[in-house]
C-alpha cells in the first residue's frame, strides 16, 4: 500500500515514466519492427503539431465538457439517492434488489440504446457517462450514511435538531470522506466513459479523434490523443485532490488515494 501512496507525482515516479518511454524508444528503433507502433519521439513530434491545431483543443474541450457535465449530474443524483437509501430503510428495502442487479451493468451496453434514443449526439454520450458514474457516488454516499454510529443519531435527537439540520449539518459532514471517495472514482470513470461513448456514437471529442486517426492510418496522432487522455486524467485528479484538501483540513489526499485503491 505504501508504495502506491507515494507513487502519484514524485521524482522517482516521473523518472519511471521516462525510463519506460526510453525502453520503448530503443525497442522500436532497434529491436523490433511494428509498422503501426510508433516510437515515443515520433508521437511527441505529432503531438507538437497537434498542439498548434484549433481542432485539437476543441476536441479536448468537448470531451472535458461531456465528462464534467455527466459527472456533475451523476454526482448530484448519486448523493441524493445515496442519502435516501442510507436514511430510509423502507426505500432501501424496495430498491436494494434493483440496485444489485443494475450496478454491474456495463455502461457501454447502454450505448446502442442511447444511439436509438438520441442518435449520434451529446445526449447519447451523457447517457453512457452518467449511468456508470452514478454508482460509485451512490454506493459510497449510502455507505457513509449507514456507517454513522447509532450514538450520533441519539445525539442529534437529544439536541432537537430539525430533520434538515440533522442531514445537512451532521449526517452529510460525517459521511463526507466516503462521499468524496465516490466522487473521485466517478470522475475518472466519467472521462473514460466519455472517450468510449465518442468512439462508439458521438462524432466529437478525443474518442472520435482516436478512431479517425486510426482510420487515416496515422498511429502517431492516435497515440498523441491517447496520451492526451492520460494527461487530462492526471490534471483533473490533481485539481480534485486540491479541492478535497480544501474541503477537509487535516486529511491529506494520500489517505483518499488509499481508499480509492481499496475500493
Amino acid at each position: 500500500m505504501t508504495f502506491v501512496k507515494n507513487s502519484s507525482l514524485s521524482f522517482r515516479g516521473i523518472a519511471g515514466v521516462f525510463l519506460f518511454l526510453f525502453f520503448w524508444e530503443i525497442l522500436i528503433r532497434f529491436l523490433i519492427q511494428f509498422d503501426n507502433l510508433p516510437a515515443p519521439s515520433a508521437i511527441l513530434f505529432s503531438w507538437f503539431d497537434l498542439l498548434t491545431l484549433k481542432q485539437y483543443w476543441e476536441e479536448i474541450a468537448h470531451t472535458l465538457f461531456a465528462a464534467m457535465l455527466g459527472w456533475t449530474v451523476a454526482s448530484f443524483a448519486g448523493i441524493f439517492l445515496g442519502l435516501l437509501l442510507g436514511l430510509s430503510k423502507t426505500f432501501y428495502k424496495y430498491t436494494s434488489t434493483s440496485i444489485e442487479v443494475m450496478r454491474p451493468w456495463p455502461g457501454v451496453a447502454f450505448a446502442p440504446i442511447g444511439l436509438l434514443l438520441f442518435g449520434f449526439s451529446l445526449k447519447m454520450e451523457l447517457l453512457v457517462i452518467i449511468l456508470p458514474a452514478l454508482w460509485p457516488v451512490l454506493v459510497n454516499t449510502m455507505g457513509g450514511i449507514v456507517n454513522i454510529p447509532k450514538s450520533l443519531y441519539e445525539v442529534v435527537a437529544s439536541l432537537r435538531l430539525t430533520n434538515f439540520a440533522k442531514i445537512y449539518k451532521v449526517f452529510i459532514p460525517s459521511a463526507k470522506a466516503s462521499i468524496l471517495v465516490g466522487l473521485r472514482i466517478s470522475l475518472s470513470l466519467s472521462i473514460i466513459m466519455a472517450v468510449v461513448a465518442e468512439m462508439i456514437g458521438s462524432p466529437n471529442g478525443i474518442g472520435y479523434a482516436i478512431i479517425r486517426e486510426q482510420q487515416a492510418m496515422k498511429p502517431t496522432n492516435m497515440f498523441a490523443y491517447i496520451f492526451t487522455i492520460a494527461l487530462i486524467n492526471v490534471f483533473i485528479n490533481y485539481l480534485l485532490s486540491k479541492i478535497v484538501d480544501r474541503l477537509s483540513p487535516g486529511k491529506p489526499t494520500s489517505r483518499l488515494n488509499q481508499k480509492v485503491l481499496v475500493q
Partner: protein
Amino acid sequence: MKFIYQIENLFLELPIGNPEEKRSILKNIHLTIEAGKIYTIVGASGCGKTSLLRVMGGLTQKSSGKVLYQNKEVSSPPEGVAFVFQDYANALLPWRTVEKNISLPIEDSLSALECSARVKEAIAQVHLTGRENDYPWQLSGGMQQRLQIARALATKPNVLLMDEPFAALDAMTKASMQDELLKLRDQTNISIVFITHDIEEAIYIGDQVSIMRGPPGEIFEAIDISLSPNRDQLTTRGLPEFLQYRKLIHESIKGH
C-alpha cells in the same frame, strides 16, 4: 408547579433478539424531580440506571407507567431537557470547532448575536475560554466532556440528564468538575439527574441519592442528603455524616 419531572409506576421491557421474548429492564420506578436540586442515582453496572435516564430523556420508549415532564408525557426528547452522554468522544462533531459544537443546537433558532453570546457564556461556565477555535480532538478527555456540558448548557435547559459524565476522567479533573456542577446548580436553579456508580460522588454532589438495584432496575431507596450546601472536597468528604451516608448507601446497594 412543584415537580419538574414526575415518574410513576414506570416499567420498561425491551426485546432481546426475537421480538416475542422480552427482558424486564425497569420495574415500578417512582421518582420526582424538583427545581434546583441534584438527584444522583447509584447502583451496580447493568442495573438499569442508564435506561431510566434514557426514558426520561425521550431516547427510549417506556412500556407502561407515567413519565411526565412539566405535566406532559415524554415520548421524544422534550424541550428544556439536555442529555449529557457518557461517551463524549462520539457525542461531539469532530469537524466543528469548540464554538461551533456548542452553537449546533441553537444556531438555527437564535440570532447570530444572541447565539454567540450564549456560546461565550457556556464556554466561560465550563472554563474553556481560549479554546474556542480548537477542534474536539485537540482537547483532553476532561475538556471534551466539559465541551459536551457547555453544549447542553447553551440550550438553557431546566433539566440536565447526565449519564456517568465523569466516569472516564482522572481523579483531579473529576473533583473539580463536581465542584463546577455544584456551582452551576447554585447559580442557575437547574435540576440535574446524575448517574454514577461512585458512591462518594453521589453523596458529594447529591441533594438526594437514589439507590437502584437490578436487573430489573428498581429504586430501592431514596436518601435525602442533608449536608451543608457549601461543600468542599476535603472537609465535606471527611465529615462523620458523609461517612455515615457512605456506609448506609454501600449497605443498601449490597442489600444487607
